[in-house]
C-alpha cells in the first residue's frame, strides 16, 4: 500500500495513532502566527501516514519557527541557529529508518545557515525541509532578514531595508542537484497539507518554502497576497502538487508548469510577476548522498573484528 513502510510490514501494524499522539507541548506562538497552521498540517500528515512517533525526528535551528519540535510528540532536536540542516543530515545519515523533518526560518536558513542550505540541497538526503519565511527575524524581535522587502522598516534598518529581498526559491533551484522545490502559503491549510504530503513522499530532500504570517512583527506583510489572490499563480501539473478542485478554485491564476523543466522553474522562481504556489522544480533522478552515507550499516561485530584485524595486518612490522 502506498505509504507503507518496511518496518510496518515486518512488525504487523498493531498500533493506531491519533492526532494527539503527535501533539507535544502547547504551542506558544503569538495568536494568528502562521506557524500554527503548519504544525497542524504536519500533525495531520503524521496521523494520516501513521508515522511511528518514535521513528520520527523533527530537527530545527533557532527562531520562533524552530520551536516547532517542542510541539510535536516525536523525537526532536532544537539545536543552534543556522545549523538545522547539517544536524538533520547527520540524523539521516546513519538512521535511514527514521522520518526526518527539518524546520528552519528565513534567518536560520538563508542568513546564518546559507552555506549549509546550499550543501544540504546538493546532498539531497531524504528528508522534508520546511522553510518558514515570515520575512523577518521573529524571535529576536524584528530585525531585517535576507527576505525582508526592500524599504521595510525593522529594528536594524529603521529607515528601511537596503536591498531587495533574496528569493529563496531562485537560489534553491539554482543549486546543483536540487530535487524538489515547492512553495505554499500558511493561510491555505489544504494547500499546505497537500504540499507537505507530496514533499514527505518525495524520495530525496524536499524543500518547501512556506509564506508565513507573523502578525506580531509583519502584520500586513502578506496582505497583498491574501487580499488579491490574483497575485498568486497556482502551478498545475500531474507531477506537481495535486489538490482538490475547491481548493484550487481559491486561486485565480492557474499556470501549467512542468516541474521537471529547469528553465521553466527558474522562470517561475525569479521572473514570473505573480507568486508561484505549488511545485516549482522536481528532479526524481537527482543523486542521493544518504545512500552513500549509510555505508557499512549493520555489519556484525564478528565481521568488524575480522576486518579490523586485516587492517592491523597492514601495519605489522
Amino acid at each position: 500500500m502506498y505509504g507503507l513502510k518496511q518496518d510496518w510490514a515486518l512488525a504487523p501494524k498493531k498500533r493506531h495513532f491519533v492526532l494527539e499522539d503527535y501533539e507535544g507541548a502547547v504551542p506558544r506562538w503569538c495568536p494568528g502566527c502562521g506557524d500554527l497552521a503548519v504544525l497542524t498540517a504536519v500533525q495531520r500528515l503524521a496521523r494520516d501516514e501513521q508515522l511511528i512517533p518514535e521513528k520520527t525526528a523533527v530537527i530545527s535551528g533557532i527562531g520562533c519557527s524552530s520551536r516547532f519540535p517542542h510541539y510535536m510528540k516525536t523525537y526532536g532536536f532544537h539545536g543552534l541557529h543556522g545549523r538545522c540542516l547539517p544536524v538533520a543530515c547527520g540524523v539521516r545519515s546513519r538512521r535511514p529508518d527514521l522520518h526526518v523533518f527539518a524546520i528552519t526560518g528565513d534567518g536560520d536558513c538563508t542568513a546564518i545557515g546559507a552555506g549549509h542550505w546550499i550543501h544540504a540541497i546538493r546532498y539531497n538526503m531524504k528528508m522534508t525541509v520546511l522553510l518558514f519565511d515570515n520575512n523577518i527575524y521573529g524571535l529576536t524581535k524584528m530585525q531585517t532578514s535576507p527576505t525582508t522587502p526592500k524599504d521595510h522598516f525593522s529594528n536594524t534598518h529603521p529607515r528601511g531595508a537596503l536591498l531587495s529581498p533574496l528569493r529563496p526559491l531562485g537560489v534553491t533551484v539554482g543549486i546543483t542537484n536540487a530535487s524538489f522545490v515547492a512553495q505554499t502559503i500558511d493561510w491555505n491549510p489544504a494547500h499546505v497539507y497537500a504540499t507537505i504530503k507530496r514533499a514527505f513522499h518525495h524520495e530525496g530532500l524536499s524543500f518547501v518554502r512556506i509564506l508565513q504570517r507573523c502578525p506580531h512583527y509583519m502584520s500586513t506583510n502578506w496582505d497583498p497576497l491574501q487580499q488579491n489572490p490574483e497575485r498568486l499563480s497556482l502551478l498545475k501539473h500531474p507531477k506537481g502538487i495535486v489538490i482538490d478542485e475547491p481548493v484550487a478554485r481559491v486561486f485565480k491564476n492557474h499556470v501549467d508548469h512542468d516541474p521537471t523543466d529547469l528553465g521553466a522553474a527558474h522562470y517561475m522562481a525569479d521572473t514570473l510577476d505573480t507568486v508561484p504556489i505549488g511545485l516549482l522544480y522536481l528532479n526524481e533522478n537527482a543523486e542521493r548522498y544518504d545512500l552513500n552515507a549509510a555505508a557499512g550499516l549493520g555489519m556484525s561485530a564478528e565481521d568488524k573484528l575480522e576486518a579490523l584485524n586485516r587492517e592491523l595486518d597492514r601495519f605489522e612490522t
Partner: protein, 640 residues
Amino acid sequence: MEDASSARGKTDKKVVSSSKPQSKTTDSGVKVVHQHVVEFVCDSGEGAQTAGQMFGSMSARAGNGVWTVEIIPAEIEPPHRSKAGASGNRIRVGTKEITNAGDEADIVIAFNEQVLYSRIDVGALRKGTIIFLESKWRDDPLETVRAEYLEAFEDFQKRGYDVRETPMEVECLRYIADPRRGKNMWALGMLCAIYCMGLEKAEMEITKKFKRKGQKVIDSNMKLIEAGYAWATKNVPDRFEIPVRPNPQQMVVMNGNTAVALGCMAAGMELCSMYPITPATSASHYLSGAFYRVGGFVHQAEDEIASIGFALGASFAGKTPVTITSGPGLSLMTEMLGLAVMTELPLVIVDVQRGGPSTGLPTKVEQGDLLAALYSAFGDAPKIVMAPATIEECLHFMVTARKLAETFRGPVMVLTDANLATGQTPFPRPVPTEEWLSPPLDQSPWPEGKPSYDWDHETGLSQRPIPGQRGGNYVLTGLAHDNNSKVAYESNTNLYAMRARSRKLHTLRKTLKPPKVYGADTGDLLIVGWGSTKGAIEEAVDRVRADGGKVSSTILRFLSPLEPGLGEIFAKFKKVMTIEINYSDDVDDKGIDAGGRRYAQLAMVLRAATLVDVDCWSDVPGSPLPPKTIENVIRRQLKM
C-alpha cells in the same frame, strides 16, 4: 630581527652533552651504539622518504626500537636544490624502545647540499655528524651550481661536520638510466653496510614493498641496494651496530594519525564527520578507505561547523561519531561543542594540535590548544579532555574516549599534536575485542515515566533515549531544561542541571588513579608534561638521573578532570615545573613583573588547581623538543 635570537635565554647555546659514553667499539672495528639518528634529505620526489621508511621498517622488524618522522617541505612543489625544498626522513633507531625523534643526527645522507641547510637551520646537525653528500654537483654543467656546491662544502667542513663526498648518481648510472629514480635505493644499500644489516633484510623489505609491482621492479631495486652495499663496503670505513633486544610480541608500526583512525574503528565508531585540515586530515584519509572494509562512512562536510553538526545529528540518533580537526577547525566548532555539553550528546573530538595562534605554523607541532579545549565554550561547559602521550595511546585512547563519551554522555576531546600525528613507531599489536566496539543500537522501549535526563544525584549520570525507543520521545534543546528536557528558566532547575553536568567530571575523577611518577617519588625537581613530549622528557630525566640529578617526571593523560593526587605528588618535590610546547613569558625577562607572568597552559591549570607555585619552561620552535633541550633545562634548574 637581530633581536629574535636573544629574545630569551631559551636558545641552547651552552648545550651540555650527555655524560655517559653512548658507544663502544668491538674488535672488528664495529662501533656498538645504543641509538643512532639517521637522516635522508633530498628534493621532493627523489624518494628519500621511501628509503628512510624502509630503513626504519627493517630496523623495527629486526627488533630495534624505532621512531621515524617525515621531513616535509612547506610548499607542494618547491624548487629543486633549495632550502624550502628539503624533503626526507629522520630515522632514530635504538636498542630499547625509542619514544621520540632524538637529538642531532649521527649520519645524514643528502642528495644535494642546499636541502641540508634547512636541516642545519633547525639544529638537526652537530659537529661530527657524518654527511654522505652527493658529489655530482661538483661537476655540474652550471657554473652557479658548482660554485654553490663548493661554497657549501667548505662551509660544512668549517662547521665541523664530517663530510664524505659520495658519487651516488655516478654509481647508479651504471645500472639505471635515470638515477633520480633509484639512488634512494643505492643509499639504502649503503646504510645496510654501515649498520651491519644483512642484505636479506633489505630483500624482504623490498619484496614486501614492491610485491604488487612485480618481480622486475623488485629485482632492479635490489640491484641498486646491492651496489650501494658493495660501494660502502669498499669505501666507507665506519661500521655501527645497534644491538637488538628480542621482542616476542607481534608489533605494528604506524603514525599517530593512523593510530587514531584505527582506534576509531576499534572503538566501533562508524561515522567520521570532518573537514580537511592539516595536520589532522591524514587520519580521515585512512578512514575514508578503511571504512569501506570495516564498515563506516567518512562525511567530508562543507565546513567544520557542519561537520560537528552532522556528527551531533548522528549522535542524537544513537551513533557516537568522531570528528578529527586542528586548531582553526576547533575554533569553528566552539558553539556546537557547547551544545554537545549542554545536551549531553556523546561525541569524540580529536584535535591534532598545530602551531598557533591563528593559521600560525600549520604543519608544525605545538601544544597550544589546551586552554581552548577546556574553556572555549562560554558558560560552564564541563567536558572530558584527554591527551595520549604515545602513538600507541593514540589508538587505545580512542576506544576509551568513545566509551567515556557514552558513559558520561557528552563530548570527549582527545588532544594529540603534529609530533604524534607524523611520527612513526612500532608498538604491540592491539587485540580488539567485541567489548571495544560500540554496543548495538538500543531500540527497546524506554522505561515508562523515566525522564530523558534522569540525572543521578550523586554521579550526574543518566541514560539517554535514542530515536526508535518507544516512549523515549523527547526534544533535545540547548536551552536550559529540566530533567524531562523541557525548557525551564527557573533558577533552581538551571542550577540543578549545571550541577549534574559538573558532577560527571567528579564521578570520572573518582575512578582515575594518580599519575605515575617516572623516577623517584621525591626529589629536587618534578617535571610535569602532557602529550607528545613524554618520550623526550623521560629520556632527559634518565640522562640527568644517571648523573645523580634528583629529577623525576610525570605525564598527565587527563586534563579534565585532572587526575587526582597531584597536590600530594607535587608536595614531595622542592620544585615543580611543566615543560610544554607552547608560549610562556620567560621567567627571567626583566620587562615582566612577577605577578604578571603569562604561564604555559598546563602550568596555569595546575597553579589554579593546586595553588602550588608550578613553574614552567616552554618554547614554540615549531618542532618537537629534543631530549637534549629538556636535559639542559633540567640541568639549569638543578644547577648541574
